[in-house]
Amino acid sequence: MSIGPYSEKVMDHFMNPRNVGEIDDASGVGEVGNPACGDMMRLFIKVEDNVVTDAKFMTFGCGAAIASSSMLTEIIKGKTVDEVLTITNENVAEALDGLPPAKIHCSVMAEEAVKAAIEDYRKKAV
């Protein structure tokens, strides 16, 4: 079911978010926030042999923020760290069949969260 400017895919990921939760022994954690609307996204990743084997998230935010978080976790699972670092907000938005212009920042938050999580992983790995 699409609602207003949200695609069916956005609504599906909002209503049935994939990979919600926390990873206790996460390899990396990325947390980003948007002061303009108060949204906050926390991404947990598990990395084994340079591959993201698990990803979970917790998000406070609107429908687009929750859907972007959910889609992001689906996209990054099974990818190598280098592949994950090439993921852009456009990739997340496209995978959701688009976001309204005013909600593009939610996909940007997802891109920033995954970059922050990888940075945290690399710091811990040193």
Binding site: M58, C62, P101
Partner: protein, 403 residues
């Protein structure tokens, strides 16, 4: 699925009697009131003047003081820009409250660019201005005070009698935006001391696209558009006859039913407020507890975002509103437009929390079982959002300490 409309502050359903009254003016009686030499034109003119009497009666004005417009936005623009244009020689200072509707606040922007100075009166945590602060703000060059009657987002009713008294004492025009209040609570331009007052038909069971500006006789005001001489020369253009006839009927009904409706809505409001308070922790009600619109309940819930709440409510058949930027500006073109509600910021709600604001506004045909239904589904919706919220997770882990 049950459908519950709790967004009467954005618009109300058309009253069936209003529909019956206006329909003949789409077909059959389709004359242009400016062509009143012939029968069709006369019918339209008489209908408009009849509606003008009824709208005037609703606010205790005379019919000659009612100018029909396309709605509240046009009325607010006409009031603010019209007075500014006509009074420029006397002064270029205007006073408004911080919580006015954007059709007042944004109408000031071109005036600021022209050199007008604006004083924005702050409000307290309930959304009330301080009349004494208003008195202190009036200067020799002040030409207009614009303070709304009731705020649509938080429901607070302003101390307009005191505002009017200050305006009269200081000999300054007083414009009152009564969009949210007219037809729901008594509006008396004489008691209020208002020189200009904005009304909107669809906010009290009339049609959309019909509004009015009360302009007290003798008030100096310039029109915004050039054209014919309709509406006393203040609003050129062929009148929206059907809208105006419906507006008049809605005003007539409101005069008969307002008091009874308000009593019923106060009961529903109490039922909803108490129910939410008892079922949901971390809930914060906004607006004034007593001086508020009947049937209006507004609040924010910690760790739960407004748009997400609204979507879940909608999926469950409940239609409500949010003061949240993220929900109210879905059509915004970029992130720059996503700012927290100016009303919530003005009453001191932190901007990152403003996004959780919800407004339930009930109307004439809402029933107690609809309130029960909302109370039944709300805790589950809130819990679902809390379970996904990182700040709620931190809150639980810390044993009840906020980050």
């Amino acid at each position: 699925m049950k459908k519950v409309f709790f967004d009467h502050i954005s618009t109300t359903p058309l009253h069936p009697d209003v529909l019956d009254a206006l329909l003949p003016f789409f077909v059959g009686q389709y004359g242009n009131p400016s062509s009143h030499i012939h029968e069709q034109g006369q019918l339209a003119l008489r209908a408009i003047e009849g509606a003008r009497e009824k709208v005037a009666g609703l606010i205790h004005a005379t019919p000659e003081e009612v100018v029909f417009t396309s709605g509240a936005t046009e009325s607010n623009n006409l009031a603010v820009k019209g007075v500014a244009g006509a009074m420029k020689k006397k002064g270029m200072h205007i006073i408004v409250s911080e919580v006015e509707h954007f059709s007042v606040l944004n109408a000031l922007i071109p005036l600021i660019n022209e050199g007008y100075e604006i004083t924005y009166l702050p409000v307290d945590r309930h959304g009330l201005i301080d009349p004494e602060e208003l008195r202190q703000s009036v200067r020799d060059d002040t030409i207009l005070i614009s303070v709304m009657h009731a705020n649509s987002e938080i429901g607070t009713i302003m101390p307009v009698l005191e505002v009017g008294a200050v305006a009269r004492e200081k000999d300054v025009y007083f414009h009152c935006d009564a969009t949210a209040s007219a037809g729901h609570i008594p509006v008396d331009v004489e008691r209020m001391g208002a020189d200009l007052l904005t009304l909107s038909a669809h906010n009290f069971y009339g049609p959309k696209g019909a509004g009015a500006l009360f302009v007290r006789k003798g008030t100096r005001i310039a029109p915004l558009q050039e054209g014919g001489f309709q509406e006393g020369g203040l609003r050129a253009g062929t009148e929206n006859v059907t809208g105006i006839v419906g507006f008049g009927k809605a005003a007539e009904i409101a005069m008969d039913e307002m008091e009874e409706d308000a009593l019923r809505l106060r009961d529903l409001e109490q039922q909803l407020r108490e129910g939410l308070k008892n079922r949901i922790s971390h809930i914060h009600f906004t607006g004034h507890e007593v001086s508020r619109l009947p049937g209006h309940v507004s609040f924010w819930i910690e760790f739960a975002e407004g748009e997400s709440l609204l979507i879940y409510l909608n999926i469950n058949g409940v239609m409500a509103a949010s003061g949240s930027a993220c929900s109210s500006n879905l059509k915004a073109q970029d992130e720059e437009d996503l700012v927290a509600s100016h009303v919530l910021k003005a009453i001191g709600v932190p901007s990152d929390i403003c996004t959780g604001s919800i407004t339930f506004s009930m109307g004439k045909w809402n029933r107690p079982d609809e309130v029960d239904y909302v109370l039944e589904i709300m805790p589950g919706i809130v819990q679902r959002l809390w379970e996904i919220s990182p700040s709620y997770s931190d809150y639980l882990k810390s044993g009840g300490v906020r980050r």
